[in-house]
């Protein structure tokens, strides 16, 4: 493979822009109740911020930000959050994924509001972890690119 040339502008800009992309991604996830957005979109943007640093600084350096071994476990954790929300509402007396039975205070609409938030966080985690893991898997065999 070609030798990597460290370009100051590329590494500086990507390092500066990445946190802002993450902030906006979190806004998209947590503001999904009131504006267009949600777990899938926000998770994709989180993965974009992580992959941007991977492309610009190289996978070796990006391990400091998000290690290669975290992608698949985080994705599984997101799916577990989703299924867990369903099972908690089932254990508390409702149907599977009936958020009205979640053990939180307030009237049922607010339970559903909170349940949707849990779901979106789980979806965002899963999408971020899996997309980053797929990028890392594609680099397998070229660990220093």
């Amino acid at each position: 493979m070609m030798r990597r040339d460290d370009d100051a502008i590329i590494s500086l800009v990507s390092r500066t822009v990445s946190p802002f992309i993450m902030i906006f991604a979190l806004y998209v996830i947590f503001h999904g109740h009131y504006s267009p957005g949600g777990g899938f979109q926000g998770g994709t943007m989180l993965a974009a911020a992580l992959i941007l640093v991977r492309l610009a600084a190289g996978s070796d350096l990006a391990q400091l930000q998000f290690p290669r071994s975290w992608g698949t476990p985080l994705g599984s954790a997101g799916v577990l959050i989703y299924w867990g929300t369903g099972f908690v509402s089932m254990l508390c007396g409702g149907n599977f994924l009936n958020y009205a039975f979640l053990p939180v205070s307030g009237p049922p609409p607010h339970h559903r509001n909170l349940g949707i938030l849990f779901i979106e966080v789980g979806v965002g985690l899963a999408v971020m972890g899996i997309l980053t893991a797929i990028y890392d898997d594609l680099l397998e065999g070229r660990p220093h690119d």
Binding site: Y82, R112, I119, A126
Partner: protein, 103 residues
């Protein structure tokens, strides 16, 4: 053989265009999808989804409510599909570390 393929393709496209021409207009209030009651007299899902998300889930964005609450099972399946795709990439593309060391 290629001419036959293109002929079948053109025929299929013509059928699709014909079917598309007979679809109801967007937002047509008399279309079966947009009626308040279905032909069997039961409430239609779309009008319910448009009227009630604020009351049911205290959430103004009806798309989010449909995606995560009314159609929660569907989204759960989508997420599981994403996880399965990631795990398949993991299984196909990852190599065993021990073999690389031996080389």
């Amino acid at each position: 053989m290629k001419a036959v393929n293109y002929a079948v393709l053109a025929l299929f496209g013509a059928v699709l265009i014909l079917a598309g021409l007979s679809l109801p207009d967007r937002g047509d209030p008399t279309a079966p999808l947009n009626r308040d009651k279905s032909a069997a007299g039961t409430p239609n899902a779309p009008s319910y989804y448009i009227r009630n998300p604020e009351r049911d889930a205290a959430t103004p964005n009806m798309v989010t409510v449909i995606l995560a609450d009314y159609r929660g099972f569907d989204t759960m399946g989508e997420e599981t599909v994403i996880l399965t795709a990631g795990l398949n990439c993991f299984l196909i593309l990852r190599r065993e570390r021990t073999k690389e060391k031996r080389r």
